[in-house]
């Protein structure tokens, strides 16, 4: 077991420590200029732009989740039916998950290209003039969320589908005997039984969304006018575009703390959930 532990600790814990010490210095490129204590953190909390970044992050994560969960559920419900070509449709609908963030950003940028893209062309029936949805500060965030949804809804669909197919048929037959309509059957029996899978998906995805950089960096780069500049992207650019290592380290520590907070809450929720399930099972037995 030792090599695995050494690897994980060496690459995950030690840099965490280095990052923390670095965040306490004023830096010029890679050089530490002088020890400044928590000044970098104070600067972060008094910077209005940082708060905008945080708000953008939350909008991005919450907006994506609000679409991705219902869409994933719908896809799972569709794939749970029996019909011809189900295997092919499943492969097609899950496909976007294997497309990387870099490629997703580029594929959509080209699809939405204001001059040559088919989507703006189709929409030009309704809207006059060149339609630059990614370059417009009113629509950029929405479009970014849609791109994000495109590449992550299959994850929700897979988890939900697996949970749906694990429901014992007797339960559904009992509901049929009691005269439940298909909708009632879905809302009152299936949905509660797959709630745990949805919870897991929500947790995993919200952490993914809050820390996302690549998709945004490649498609909008935080623009236009900073409307899509989320906190994680800011950290990345602060470090590797402007080389403010001290500031970036401090912001990275804040992201790290946020993640920790989220993770702890989530672990509590999952544990509580599991205990409740165990309790219910114990009672049934």
């Amino acid at each position: 077991m030792a090599p695995g532990i050494a690897l994980v600790f060496g690459v995950s814990f030690y840099p965490g420590f280095v990052g923390f010490t670095e965040s306490l210095y004023k830096t010029e490129y890679l050089r530490r200029v002088r020890f400044v204590g928590f000044t970098n953190y104070a600067a972060f909390f008094t910077d209005p732009r940082a708060w905008t970044n945080v708000r953008n992050s939350l909008t991005y994560a919450a907006g994506s989740l609000a679409i991705v969960i219902p869409l994933g559920l719908a896809v799972a419900a569709l794939l749970d039916q029996r019909f011809r070509f189900r295997g092919i449709l499943r492969a097609i609908l899950i496909l976007p998950w294997v497309v990387s963030q870099t490629i997703t950003a580029m594929l959509w940028s080209w699809l939405l290209n204001p001059q040559f893209g088919p989507l703006p062309y189709a929409l030009s029936v309704f809207v006059r003039g060149p339609l630059d949805v990614l370059g417009n500060s009113a629509t950029a965030m929405l479009v970014l969320i849609l791109m994000n949804v495109w590449e992550s809804y299959p994850y929700v669909a897979i988890l939900a589908l697996a949970a749906l197919q694990a429901i014992p048929p007797e339960v559904l037959e009992a509901a049929d005997v009691d005269g439940a309509t298909p909708w009632q059957r879905y809302a009152w029996i299936k949905l509660p039984l797959i709630a745990h899978a949805l919870l897991i998906a929500t947790i995993t995805l919200s952490l993914l969304y809050l820390n996302m950089v690549t998709l945004i960096f490649v498609s909008t780069g935080g623009g236009p006018l900073g409307t899509t500049e989320v906190l994680s992207l800011r950290v990345f650019q602060e470090a590797f575009s402007f080389w403010n290592i001290g500031t970036a380290s401090a912001s990275a520590m804040i992201i790290f703390a946020l993640n920790l907070l989220f993770s702890i809450c989530y672990i509590r929720v999952i544990r509580g959930d599991r205990d409740r399930v165990a309790l219910a099972r114990g009672k049934a037995a």
Binding site: M1, P3, G4, I5, L7, V8, G10, V11, S12, F13, Y14, P15, G16, G19, E22, L30, L78, Q81, F83, L89, I92, I94, L95, P96, W97, V98, V99, S100, Q101, T102, T104, M106, L107, W108, W110, L111, N113, Q115, F116, P118, Y121, S152, I158, L207, L208, L210, N211, V213, T214, V218, S232, F236, A239, F240, I245, A252, I255, F256, N259, S263
Partner: protein, 271 residues
């Protein structure tokens, strides 16, 4: 009526999933003037492979793909070696602090890449591993090991311990019994893990962007990104490059869909 609604839903969703990929495929097959023609057309009038030839023979893409393949293989090897031993120890042996250790290992997957990127960069410069494949392999493997440990632990638990006990009676050392008996039986798990690791390495952008500089050691995601900045954007060529970069993961996905989905449910994240 119900069937019609059902079919419409299926077609709309399928179109949503495929449109971006098909549009890039269409563009990649068009000659330049047709690709930038207005109004845009989905079906190319003249099919030309010139864009693909340009990417394959007159760009850095083949090198980037080879680089990525090399790093992916190194990462897979290191991850599997580290994770198989750890997963086996966790599945078979009880030792003091096991649960805590397993939990801490899993907890490292909650450390987001972006929060640790800057320090990783600083450390890699400090230990003179900056701009080497070694650095990439080490970090990728460390990021993937926790999930794979948990995955393989599950697989090892399904192998009956009686098999190993029989081997021990026949005079095998415990380690030998593990290599000869248990490991071969856990092959499906190792394969699933290898696929997930490959997909991760092939897709990741941030790490190769920060730890590696220069054209010689560039990986495929960064190579694609440089298409944008280097030449102004020449979309038909970029589309051909995108399709080529997608090809390995798409083929892999289609071949091993079931295993891929199983691995996904065992708790692996996305790049």
């Amino acid at each position: 009526m119900k069937h019609v609604g059902f079919g419409v839903c299926a077609i709309l969703l399928g179109a949503f999933a495929l449109a971006p990929i098909l549009w890039a495929l269409s563009t990649s097959l068009k000659p330049y003037d047709e690709a930038v023609a207005f109004p845009p057309a989905w079906i190319p009038k003249h099919v030309s492979l010139k864009n693909f030839a340009d990417v394959l023979f007159r760009s850095g893409m083949p090198r980037y793909c080879l680089n990525t393949g090399f790093v992916a293989l190194g990462t897979i090897a290191l991850t599997l070696v580290a994770a198989a031993h750890a997963g086996y120890a966790a599945a078979r042996h009880d030792f003091y602090g096991k649960q805590a250790l397993l939990f801490i290992i899993l907890a490292t997957t909650m450390i987001p890449g972006i929060a640790i990127l800057v320090p990783l960069y600083l450390v890699s410069v400090k230990v003179h591993l900056h701009n080497t494949f070694t650095a990439l392999i080490l970090v990728f493997a460390a990021w993937q090991t926790p999930a794979v440990v948990w995955m393989l632990k599950g697989f090892f638990e399904t192998v009956p311990p009686e098999l190993e006990e029989a081997a021990l009676l026949d005079g095998c050392t415990p380690l030998r019994a593990f290599y000869r008996i248990t490991l071969p039986l856990a092959q499906p798990g190792m394969a699933a893990a290898a696929i997930l690791v490959f997909m991760f390495v092939w897709s990741d952008f941030l790490l190769p962007f920060t730890l590696v500089t220069g054209d010689q050691k560039r990986l495929v995601s960064v190579g694609l990104y440089n298409f944008i900045t280097a030449y102004g954007i020449e979309w038909p060529r970029l589309c051909a490059a995108l399709i080529l970069a997608l090809l390995p993961v798409l083929l892999l996905f289609l071949c091993v869909q079931r295993r891929f989905i199983a691995g996904l449910m065992a708790g692996a994240g996305k790049a």
